[in-house]
C-alpha cells in the first residue's frame, strides 16, 4: 500500500505507519516499543489505500499530550471508523507510545491485497516435508518465543535456512572443496599421499639441539590439525545428514522424533549434540568409515532417519558438534540478518535487541545524523529499517 505523510518529524508517526496493516480487525500496535523520535506538536498523515479512491486523514496532537485521534475513512465499500488513541510522554528524545487501533471496517477484502498475501505467505524450497517440521521445532527450542519477545518461529528463521540451502550456501559454492578429506578430530596416526603423520608430541631439532614440544601435553593430540569442517559433501548434504542424525538420536535416546519431545528433552538433545553423544563414525578417533565412505552410508539411510543409518552410526561421517555449531549459527542468523534473506520477519529480531538496521538516524524522520547517535550520552534506539526499505528510499 502506498502512504504519503507529512511532516516527517512527528513522534506518533510510526503509529500511522501501522494503521494500514492494522486496519483489519482490532490490533494493538507498538505496545512496548520505545523508539527515538523528534519532538513536534502536530502532524497530519494522509494514507491512500489501494483499491480505493478514498483517503484517510489522521490528525494528532503530540507530544506531552494524551490525545484521542479520530480517523475517518471514506474508502468506498467500507463504513469503517478507526480510532487511534495515543499517549505520548513529554520526552524530548525518547518517547513511549501506546496505541490501540480498532476498526469497524466491514468490507476487509479491499485491504487484503494480493501483495499482502505475498508478504505474509512463504514456502519451503529445499527442506523436505519431514525436515521442515523437525527444523521448525529445533529452531523454536534454540530461540523460544516467550514473554520477553519473539523467537525463531516468529522470525521465520527456518525460511532463512531453507533459502540458504537452496543457494550458494547449500551448494558450498564458496567453500574450498579439494581433497583429501581428513577428519579434523582424528587422533590416531595415519598416512596420506605417502606421508605419515604420527601425532603425539614432537621433537624439533633446531641446529644440534633437540627440543620436545610440550604442546597439548596430555591426550587429545589431533593428528589432523587445522580447521574444522573437513567434509567432502556440500552444505545441503551436511544438513541432510545432520537433521537425519538428530532424528535418529532423538528416537534412540528420548523415544521419539525431536518435534515430539518435551521442551526439557529437546534442550537436552541439542546439548547432547555439542557433547558428541550421538554415535558417529569417527567416535573411535580413527579414519574408519569417515570421509567419503561415511557420507555414502548416511545418504543411503536418510529415507528412514528414525532407524538410523543402515549398518552405520547416527551421524555417519559428521561430528555431531560440528553440525550443532552450524545449526545454532544458522538459526541465530535466521533471527538476526536482514529480512531480504527470508528470516527476521518484520525485523522482529532487530527490534528485540534494539538494532536499527539500515535506519542510519533519519529514516523515519527522527532527524539524527549518525554522528549524533555515536556521541549521544544516552543510547538512542531507533525503529529498524530493512535493506529493502533503505534501497527503496522511503518507509
Amino acid at each position: 500500500m502506498t502512504e504519503t505523510e507529512k511532516p516527517t518529524s512527528d513522534p506518533s508517526r510510526r503509529t500511522f505507519l501501522k494503521i494500514g496493516a492494522a486496519a483489519v480487525g482490532g490490533l494493538v500496535v507498538g505496545a512496548a516499543a520505545v523508539y527515538a523520535a523528534k519532538p513536534s506538536t502536530t502532524a497530519t498523515s494522509t494514507t491512500t489505500l489501494p483499491g480505493s479512491t478514498g483517503t484517510t486523514t489522521v490528525t494528532s496532537t503530540a507530544p506531552g499530550s494524551t490525545g484521542t485521534t479520530t480517523v475517518t475513512s471514506t474508502a468506498p465499500g467500507s463504513t469503517g471508523t478507526t480510532t487511534v488513541t495515543s499517549t505520548l510522554p513529554a520526552s524530548t528524545v525518547t518517547s513511549t507510545s501506546t496505541s490501540t487501533v480498532t476498526s469497524t471496517v466491514t468490507n476487509t477484502s479491499q485491504f487484503l491485497t494480493a501483495q499482502e498475501n505475498l508478504d505474509t505467505l512463504t514456502a519451503f524450497l529445499s527442506l523436505s516435508s519431514t525436515e521442515q517440521v523437525e527444523l521448525t521445532a529445533i529452531a523454536s527450542a534454540i530461540i523460544p518465543t516467550d514473554s520477553t519477545g519473539p523467537g525463531a518461529t516468529t522470525a521465520g528463521a527456518v525460511y532463512f535456512i531453507d533459502r540458504q540451502l537452496k543457494s550458494v550456501y547449500g551448494t558450498s559454492g564458496l567453500v574450498y572443496r579439494s581433497g583429501p578429506f581428513v577428519p579434523a578430530n582424528s587422533t590416531a596416526a595415519f598416512t596420506v599421499d605417502g606421508i605419515s603423520y604420527p601425532g603425539g608430541s614432537v621433537t624439533y631439532n633446531a641446529g644440534a639441539t633437540p627440543y620436545v614440544v610440550k604442546y597439548n601435553p596430555t591426550g587429545n593430540v589431533r593428528v589432523g590439525a587445522g580447521t574444522r569442517y573437513q567434509y567432502a559433501f556440500d552444505m545441503k548434504q551436511f544438513w541432510t545428514i545432520g537433521l537425519a542424525g538428530i532424528q535418529a538420536y532423538s528416537n534412540a535416546a528420548y523415544g521419539g522424533n525431536f518435534e515430539t519431545l518435551s521442551a526439557a528433552n529437546q534442550t537436552a538433545a541439542l546439548t547432547d549434540l555439542w557433547n558428541n553423544k550421538p554415535t558417529y563414525d569417527g567416535a573411535a578417533g580413527t579414519l574408519t568409515g569417515g570421509a567419503a565412505g561415511g557420507y555414502q552410508e548416511v545418504i543411503e539411510g536418510v529415507n528412514s532417519p528414525a532407524a538410523g543409518v543402515p549398518g552405520g552410526s547416527q551421524f555417519g561421517a559428521v561430528l555431531p558438534s560440528d553440525f550443532a555449531y552450524e545449526l545454532f549459527f544458522m538459526v541465530w542468523n535466521g533471527f538476526w540478518v536482514d529480512p531480504v534473506y527470508g528470516g527476521n520477519k518484520g525485523m522482529v529480531g532487530w527490534s528485540y535487541v534494539g538494532f536499527h538496521g539500515v535506519n542510519l538516524g533519519n529514516f523515519y524522520g527522527e532527524g539524527y545524523t549518525s554522528k549524533q547517535l555515536m556521541v549521544a550520552t544516552t543510547p538512542i534506539t531507533l525503529k529498524p529499517a530493512s535493506l529493502g526499505q533503505y534501497q527503496q528510499g522511503s518507509p
Partner: protein, 620 residues
Amino acid sequence: MSTVITEPAADVVLMGVGVVSGTIAAELTAAGYKVAGITRGPYWNFTTDFSTTKYDEWGIQWERKFDVPASWGSQSIRNNPNQMALPSRRATFPIQYHSFGLGVGGAAHHYGGAMGRNSPWGFAMQSTTATRYGATHLATINPFDDTEDWPMTYTEYDPYYTAWEQNFGLSGDTAGSAGSGAAVGSNMGGTPIPMSKNYPLPGHPATPLGTAWQAATEALGYNPFPTTSSLASEPYVNPYGVQINGCVYEGWCTGGGCNFVCETGAKGNSAFRSVPAAVKSGKFTLSLNSEVTRMDTNSAGLVTQVRYYDAAGNIHIQPGTVFFNGLHGGNQVRAMLLSGVGVPYNSTTVTGTVGRGYTNGYLPFTGTSGPSGKIPGLGLNSIAGNGGGGYTLYEYMDDGFDHTGLGFIGGSEQSAGGYSGSGPTNVSTAGGASSGSQGSKYKQTLQNRYTTGGTAANVGFGGMAPDLPNTMNMWDLDPHYSDIWGDPIPRITHEWTPNPYLAATYFASSVGNVGFLAILNKLGAQSISSGGTTIVPPYTAHNDWWGHHIRGGNRVGSSSTSSTFNKWQQAWTTPNLFAAGECNNTTGDTVPSGTHQAGMQSEVASEGIQMYLKSPGLLS
C-alpha cells in the same frame, strides 16, 4: 588450450594491487616510470558497488561477498610437523576465519583501520631485551627464539612512516606541534615518542566512553591519545592530490567477524588513496581479475617476467625491469617458493629464509579475560560508529615497565571508547556458538549484551603481547592441497609461543591488574571482575583462524642468512625483486594491525626501487 599473451614491458610490475602496491603505483608513475599492476579482483567503486548493498550483515560478514571466495584456494594450518595440516574451507566463522581481500585495495576493504606505529622498542626487541635482561633472556623465555632486530631503527623509519601517514590520511593525535620533533601520538612507558610530523587528520569525535576514559586515565597520570585510525575523520586531499571523503559514522563498519566495506571511501585503502593518482598519471596499466602465479628468472638471478591467468584462463606474460611482490602473507611466500626465487626455509636445519619467522602477531581470543567492569550511567550506542572515537594508552606496551621475572616481554595498548558499529550476529555467534547458545535466558542475555548493557558500559582490559618468532613456526607449500590452478596452497606450521599467554596471565593477576583496577575504579565502574584465574594455559588455543594478522614469515633483516629482504625491502638473492607487507615485518608490538608498518615499508620500497632503476644492483 589457453592463449598466451605477452604484454608490453613495464618498468615496475606489481604482483597484487593492495595497500602496499598502491604506494609503488602512485610514486613510481609520478617519477615518470611505467607501472603495470596485476590483481585478482575488480576495481570496486564505492559509490556504485558499496553504497546500497553494504548494509548486509549476512552477505558481508559471513558470506564475504566482496572477498576472495574460499573455493579459489586456501591455506592449511597445523601446530607441528607431526600433524597433517588441514585447509580452512570457508572464509568465515562459524567454522573458520580466513577471508582474503579481492580487487584493488585488497584486504583493506575489510579491515577496521586500526593503526599505530611500532615504537623504537618494536624495532629492536632482540637487542633491547638482551641489554636490559641479559643476553640469554630471550632464549630462556622463548624456546628456539628467532627474534631479530629490524634492519633500521625507529629514527630511520620515521620519515617513511610520516610519508605514508600523509599519503594514506591517518587520523589520530595532532596535539604536538608539527616539525618540532616532539609531536606525540605514540609513546612508550609514558614517554612521548617523537614523530617528525603529526598525523594529518584529528582523531574521530570522542564517544562518551572515550571522553570518560580520557578523563579517568589522565587523572591517574597516564597519557591517553586519540586512537589512531586510517579512517579519515575529515575530508582531505593527500599529497598525491587524491580527494578523500570524511567518515560519516554510520556504523556497519567494524565487526566481530570481519569488517564491512566502506561506502564513502573514508576507510584507508589504496583504491581510494594512491591508485587513483597512478591511474590519472596515464603511466599505469591495471590488469583486473588476473592472478599472478609465477616469476621467471634468468641466469643472472633476476626476475624477467611474471605469468598470470586472466578471468578466461588465458596466460599472460608481463615482462619488466623491477618486480614488486605485494601479495598478502602466505601468497607472497608461495609465489616465491613456486617460482624458485629465494631460499626456502627449512626448520630442521634452520637454513633458508622464505617462510621463516612466521608469527601470528595477535592474541588468541581465548586469553583475554583481564579485569573488567560496568560503568553505571554511561550508555553506549555501539551501533553507530567506526571503531574510532576512543582513546589509547601506551603505558602497558613495549618495555615501558620492568619485565624482570615475568617470563615475557612486551605488552599491549589499552584502549576504550571505540564503538564497533555492527549488527547483532556479532554478539550471538561471532566468537562461536556453544551448547549454552539456546533458550529464553540466553536470548535475554544477548538482548542485554547487544544494547551494551543499555546504560552501563562494559570496559575490559586485555593482556596482549607479541607472539615471538621461533625457528619452528613457518610457511611452506602444502604437499596435499592445491588451488584452482593446480598450484599448492600455502601451509602454516604454527604453535603459539608462551609470550602472549604469560602476558595475559600476568595482566589478570593480582600484581599485574593493579593499574587496570585503578582505572576501572576511577571510571566509577561497578561489578568489577579482577579477571584472572581462567586464562587458558599455553598451547590449547583453537586453531581455526590463523594467518590473517601475521607478522613475519618472509622478513626484512640485516643478514641474508636469516632474512629474505634487506633494509630496502629488496630480496638478497634477487636484486630486482622488492616486497612489502605484514609478512615482511620482523617483529611488531602494535596490536592488532601490521598495516601501518607494511605501509611504511612500502615507502621504503618505493625509494629503493627508484634507486635500483637509476643504478641496478644490490642496494646498501
